[in-house]
Amino acid sequence: MQAPAQTSGSGLRLAIVLGLVALAAIVPILLPSWATLITLVAAKGVVVLGVIILLQAGQVSFGHAMYFAVGAYAVAFWGRHMGPGDLILYLLLGSAAATLFGAVIGLFVVRYREIFFGMLNLAFSMVLWSLLEKLYHYTNGADGIRVVRPTIAGIAFQPETFQYALLYVTLVIAVVASYVAQRYLDSPLGHMLRAIKSNETRLEYLGVSARRVLLIGYVLSAFLCGLGGALVAVAQQIATPEFGYWTKSGEFVFIAILGGSSSALGAFAGSAVFEIVRFYAAAKLANTWQLILGVVLIAIIMFAPNGLVGILNRNRRNAEARR
């Protein structure tokens, strides 16, 4: 994400963010079928923020869907055993469960780097996926668990108005999560996290435990994934083992690269393009939407390695150079 030294265009960025949030809030009023779509874009953007945090340290997790699934199943289990709850409770449960999981698994995986880090995360996520599939008595196996529609701040919404209320809550959460993630990355801990990518040896020679720094980043990323998982479970009203499958982890990494891992905006830009392409391509070109997304990713890697936000930044720099 943007370092303070790069914040010359912070005013412009703020205007872009506010404009996009306003657009995301208004479009569903005109196109009601987009309400859930935009909710999913924003919720998955929160998850991708978590993936992007780890990318700052040069670490790619191919297993972060497990935290997404933990967040979703925490909500589903509550609804199943305790009855309907409030959205705030659901979000607290989902994020807290994922944070706890992240802290425990993180203690182990932050000892490793690069491919070993990525594959260990994948291994843990596949263990969780298998448990969700096989413990049918508790999880309903591949059928998943239906998520009961919650109240929002104590108000019971009808289905047609609930999707809008959920959308606006998700947009607020997305903005707050982006701000928190950016503040973290601008803080000493965030800079130390970035330092792991470029020179872990020097970090240790400054008296800093790189493992501890990475663990804190890892737990924060798990928190964000759990929060996003809880939101998606509520939006789709179900939690299934597919939430924790390795292809879902790959999807989050895909979105991060597509949008650009240098900024919070990249998480949401990537999520928007991914979900919209999938939404329309799946409807009009069944079974080939993956092909379209694959071609898009190849083009991004070849021509815009810094993602969609990288293209925006490059165009802005070129425009400034011409002035």
Partner: protein, 247 residues
């Protein structure tokens, strides 16, 4: 000069058939600049690696301020007051020079905030003064990877000084610096060490530098300390001149 700051006793280490240290005893006295000279591959850098916890000796101990640090990891030794500057500068290349320095300042104070902005910390002026004292303040807002090698070297030293260490270990502090600028850089560096009351050990091949800036010289040859003493005495020793200096 007074009590030993760092004491190495009976250090032994070998790499395959190469003996880098074979019963080495060496003291670093508070307030001194100790130069270590010797042929390439003699084990000079190995001493720095052992003293900072990067390597563990097969035998022997290193104590710092009376505490055994032989088996401690680098970060624990750093926190006790030993900093290191490297032969090849070790910077956070994607971050600015000021961000590099502020990370060091945060590390020194044990900062663990995940909220307060790094560049809003109160040490910013202090870090700028430190960069100025080694002549690289003009590069403060540049990314470290954009700097020429010589400037990177100075930032690497500034990074170590930012920790306010009691002892600074340097491996060829002016390698990579243009020949015409070496003495100037060392003048600045030694003045900074004296001002900050930091003792130092520096590995060096340039005998003019050793003669001018070291209080004592240790000659490291074939894994052993051949002799230790004032520069004039050591560099005037015919055997040292023949075996180490090559004249």
């Amino acid at each position: 000069m007074s009590a030993p700051l760092l004491q190495a006793r009976g250090l032994e280490i070998r790499f395959g058939g190469v003996v880098a240290a074979d019963g080495v005893d060496l003291d670093v006295i508070e307030g001194e600049n100790l130069a270590i000279i010797g042929p390439n591959g003699a084990g000079k850098t190995t001493f720095l690696n052992i003293s900072t916890g990067y390597l563990k000796p097969l035998a022997g101990t290193v104590t710092f301020l009376g505490q055994d640090i032989t088996r401690l990891p680098p970060r624990a030794i750093t926190r006790l007051g030993i900093a290191r500057a490297f032969q090849i500068p070790q910077l956070f290349l994607e971050q600015t020079v000021m961000e590099n320095m502020m990370i060091a300042a945060a590390a020194r104070s044990g900062e663990t905030s995940g909220w307060r902005r790094l560049l809003d910390r109160p040490e910013r002026e202090e870090m700028l003064r430190l960069l100025d004292s080694v002549g690289v303040a003009a590069f403060a807002e540049r990314r470290a990877h954009e700097l020429p090698e010589g400037q990177r070297k100075l930032v690497d030293i500034a990074l170590a000084l930012a920790l306010k260490p009691r002892l600074l270990l340097m491996d060829e502090p002016t390698s990579g610096v243009a020949s015409s600028e070496k003495m100037g850089v060392m003048d600045i560096l030694v003045a900074a060490l004296a001002r900050e009351k930091v003792s130092s050990v520096f590995v060096e091949h340039d005998m003019d530098m050793v003669e001018r800036y070291a209080h004592r010289v240790a000659v490291w040859s074939s894994g052993r300390i051949q002799t230790v003493g004032p520069p004039a005495q050591v560099l005037g020793d015919p055997e040292v001149r023949q075996r180490v200096i090559g004249i």
